[in-house]
């Protein structure tokens, strides 16, 4: 079984995330970055498949040079190889261009049974790129799986939908998305960290993928950001200490705001 896991290098939510001032793109250079937490669940699920049978796991990412850190983390968790698409012209790409580049990279990787991904990135949080990749590649896509089983050339699982839980089945190859309910991602072991150093990571440019610079980056984005404003910090409101009437005082406040 050949599995490609899509990983994204994102600004760390713990430090301050911000936009580049002159073009409103997400600042991915001047900030701490790391493997998007939600992608760890996809890496872990791929590892579980590998450990219960046989699988070759390739990590695919697109991002600035520092995104190599995200690939390394996934290799430390146990993945076998990495592909890092890096090109200056990619900066500011929208979801559509991102899906184009990743779809081309998947075609270049060639054989795969599953393309696995998390439920969304923790920065843009759109959650649309996997579906776009599936649309471009013409393969089935099933996302939001809270558990999954691979057998007999198909993936089955429980999709944790908005209004209902759905049990779904898809033939392989497929793009498969998992939620943060599916497993508990492992921490890289010392052995894993050492082994990762020997695993191959290829670096591909746009030219390697046959994608032209006009198709990607901020200037090719089909959306434009006109303005970005930092939300004024919420004001620290009234604080009362419960002296036996805390509940009543709470209702006083709710009543003054017409909630009661």
């Amino acid at each position: 079984m050949k599995i490609v896991v899509l990983c994204k290098f994102v600004p760390n939510a713990i430090s301050e995330r911000r936009f580049v001032e002159d073009d409103f793109t997400t600042d991915r250079v001047g900030v701490d970055g790391l493997l998007s937490e939600l992608d760890e669940y996809a890496v872990e699920e791929a590892m579980k498949i590998k450990e219960s049978g046989d699988a070759q796991i390739t990590i695919l990412t697109m991002g600035p040079p520092a995104a190599a850190d995200a690939v390394r983390k996934a290799l430390q968790m146990g993945a076998d190889a990495g592909v890092h698409v890096v090109d200056d012209t990619l900066r500011g790409s929208d979801a559509l261009a991102t899906s184009l580049v990743l779809a081309k990279a998947l075609e270049k990787i060639g054989e795969y049974d599953m393309v696995m991904c998390g439920m969304a990135s923790t920065d843009g949080e759109m959650g649309v790129v996997p579906a776009m990749i599936a649309e471009r590649l013409g393969v089935p896509h099933v996302g939001y799986l809270g558990d999954l089983t691979v057998a007999d050339g198909q993936v089955t699982g429980r999709r944790d939908g908005d209004a209902a839980i759905e049990y779904v089945a898809s033939p392989l190859p497929a793009v498969v998305g998992v939620t943060d309910q599916i497993n508990d991602p492992r921490y890289p072991s010392f052995k894993g960290i050492m082994a990762a150093k020997k695993r191959p990571v290829q670096t591909w440019s746009l030219a390697d993928l046959g994608v032209s610079a006009e198709e990607v980056g901020l200037s090719a984005a089909w959306t434009v950001v006109d303005a970005v404003a930092k939300r004024p910090p919420r004001s620290h409101g009234e604080v009362v200490t419960d002296d036996g009437d805390g509940g009543k005082r709470l209702v006083e406040f709710l009543s003054s705001q017409k909630f009661v």
Partner: protein, 318 residues
């Protein structure tokens, strides 16, 4: 005026509130045209007419519930090619966002997700999004193709505007790929009798401070007609089902009132609720970060404060 296409989110014709919000937004932008896929057109018509749909497109697909995303995207594209809408609006939920992603690629159109506001502009609709855990507000527009915009529930207050929509039947031939992913079974979410989290005006949430006992949280919620939410800490401890998790990896909500009980306010949680209109916190720890965003806080034990508040509300309501 070219139509504003709205994908109706419904279950057997019961139209979800978020769709009435989309129709309200669509009326700002042009003539709302609703697309109903699957069973229940007759039942849906009442709501669609009440909220001003000018036309209703009925996609006849008797077995649609056996399939997931792609048939719905193909149906939307078929309607879009027929009527050439100026905008396509969908609800920002898991299913509709995936449908929107397919539509955007198929039509070669730009896409904006999770809008919290959409207003008409000289160069097409201007969206507002709340990003980076609600710390930034972003105004954006689609510049290429037919704007595909997904809108978060509660982005606007639905306003009725009665209409007499015509009904047009649309025949769609689905691709083989559309039938690749099958829904083999489904189970409705457990009914709690409380409002849906994404649509609720008031949410009362519990966290680590409940110690696993959500009784007082539910008691206050029921006194106020509110939905119940839970922090990731509470969900990870197995105290409350994941379906009720508020936070970056759960529901991102912005109700009129959010009551956080025994929740410290980790960034993960704040990302899911800090755009709420009014925030109230009950916490034993006066240093808890949640107090810094709360409009009103009670430093105290939720096991005494919440029941007292619930009793007081009942007393006032007689």
């Amino acid at each position: 005026m070219s139509p504003i296409l709205v994908l109706v989110d419904h279950h057997d014709g019961v139209v979800r509130k978020s769709t009435t919000e989309l129709l309200t937004i669509a009326r700002r932008l042009g003539d709302p045209a609703a697309v109903v896929i699957g069973h229940g057109l007759e039942k849906a018509m009442g709501t669609l007419a009440a909220y001003g749909a000018a036309v209703v497109y009925d996609v006849d697909a008797p077995d649609i519930d056996d399939y997931l995303i792609v048939p719905r995207a193909e149906a939307m594209v078929a309607v879009a090619e027929k009527v050439q809408p100026s905008v396509i609006l969908l609800t920002s939920n898991a299913k509709s966002k995936e449908i929107a992603a397919h539509i955007a690629v198929k039509l070669g159109s730009g896409i904006i997700t999770d809008a919290v506001d959409v207003q008409p502009g000289p160069d097409g609709p201007i969206t507002t999004q709340s990003v980076f855990a609600g710390n930034y507000s972003v105004q954006a527009r689609v510049t290429t193709g037919t704007p595909v915009i997904t809108v978060k529930p509660n982005a606007t207050t639905p306003e009725e505007s009665p209409s007499s929509p015509s009904i047009e039947l649309v025949e769609v031939t689905f691709s083989d790929l559309a039938r690749a992913v099958r829904v083999t079974d489904h189970a409705p979410r457990e009914r709690t009798g409380r409002p849906d989290l994404n649509e609720a005006a008031i949410i009362v949430s519990g966290g680590r401070g409940t110690g696993g006992d959500f009784g007082p949280v539910e008691q206050l919620a029921d006194a106020m007609g509110a939905a119940v939410g839970a922090s990731r800490a509470a969900v990870d401890s197995g105290w409350y089902p994941h379906a009720f998790q508020i936070g970056q990896t759960g529901h991102v909500v912005s109700p009129q009132l959010y009551v956080a009980a025994g929740i410290s306010g980790a960034i993960q949680h704040r990302a899911g609720m800090q755009t709420s209109k009014t925030i109230v916190a009950i916490n034993k720890d006066e240093e808890a970060p949640i107090l810094q965003l709360a409009d009103f806080s009670v430093v105290g034990d939720l096991f005494t404060v919440l029941p007292q508040a619930a009793e007081e509300i009942k007393r006032r309501q007689g």
